[in-house]
Symmetry: C2
Subunit: 203 residues, 2 copies
DNA sequence: CGAGTGATTGACTTAGATCAATGACCGTGG
DNA sequence: CCACGGTCATTGATCTAAGTCAATCACTCG
């Protein structure tokens, strides 16, 4: 339900303690495709990208992970990494060693369940975000975001970050977002109150 | 790696056999938000939508599941459904009962692992598709698709369905896709060979 | 043999990207 | 304490890529 890529709360302390923190310089490679998989990572600070490089050198970004997000979970179940990970900015990551995680998942079925639940929730949230991107009109995309993220009263949406960040989440330029938001407010559909948006009427 | 939402291969026969198939008429509701969660579904045929309805009656689509895809996995870990599911077309779904699935996941750690691995792969694939939608230019979006989905030789992409379906996957009108593909071919970047695209040079 | 759908291409329109500029804030270093 | 550099918020002007409407042709199917 929450869009938050709520990272690693499912991890028992036992595993969290064996995590290995590593600091990356901007541009530095964390792992390469083909490297033996050591486990999955959590980005503690900065930004790390997963990249697939084709033989002509062109690269395609598979994921851009920022602080709090998690990286390469699937590598837990694979012996090698299938893409490159490189730091886009200076960054700090935490490695959760494969063997430790897997054996813990196996030993404690509660942890296994929590892990699966977290992944299932992520799948749900990702599908929702993807579905939103299928909406062509900026206004309807915003409406989708608002109704999906409305609080319990169904009328109040708490903005998590800056408007620019929201624009990125929606796949709009920030200018376009400002404009549409302004129009929606002018037409009485919403009301901005600081970091909150009130949904008033709907057309 | 494969973009396929490869559904239920992880399920042991034991569970597959207790699945309950159900036929839905177009427009029929499979479950409502707040209903006690019975398990998750696989869409065998037709199309089913997950919908969140806000109090003013506006609805936001959270997911559109077509044949072969899976629905509401997260409900395995929740006591009630959190949205409505309604058939967009006539449809056939298969219900995997929660209790049976959960106990099997718990009993057989191999199954649990396979389930988690499937979810992790789905998360990866979804993130990749979402990342692609961040690319504004149609051409670059197509390039992203091609490099991500290139076969082992890195130069051959097998199209899974029709070009129209690809257009939907890319979030483009099919006309736009035809045009850009035609231009790319004219400029020698790719070569279409039936249901295959050869990547020739890259600009 | 029509009906329905995909593939393709042309013409036209427009929503939203881009480029620009301004004002409000904010931390910070002298 | 204040000037300065940086980022966010906001709005205007302009441009274009891609959507929409439309028409044609090729196919498949009952």
């Amino acid at each position: 339900m929450t869009p938050a890529t709520s990272t690693t709360d499912w991890l028992p302390a036992a595993i969290r303690n064996v995590a290995i923190e590593r600091r990356l310089k901007s541009g530095q490679t964390l792992f390469h495709a083909g490297n033996r998989s050591l486990g999955f990572y959590e980005v503690v600070g900065g930004t790390v990208r997963l990249i697939r490089v084709d033989r002509s050198g062109r690269e395609a970004v598979l994921q851009t992970a920022v602080a709090g997000e998690t990286l390469a979970e699937a590598s837990l179940f694979s012996s090698v990494y299938h893409c490159d990970a490189v730091a886009l900015t200076e960054a700090v990551v935490r490695l959760y060693p494969k063997a430790a995680v897997l054996s813990e998942l196996q030993r404690d079925s509660e942890t296994g369940k929590a892990f699966a639940a977290m992944l299932a929730r992520q799948v749900m949230a990702l599908r929702t975000r993807l579905e939103r991107r299928n909406i062509y009109s900026a206004r309807d995309r915003i409406r989708h975001y608002l109704t999906v993220n409305a609080g319990a009263d169904g009328r109040t949406v708490a903005l998590t970050g800056t408007v620019k960040q929201l624009a990125a989440e929606l796949g709009l330029s920030h200018e376009a977002l400002y404009r549409v938001l302004a129009r929606m407010e002018a037409e009485g559909e919403i009301k901005k109150l600081g970091a909150t948006i009130k949904i008033k009427s709907m057309m």
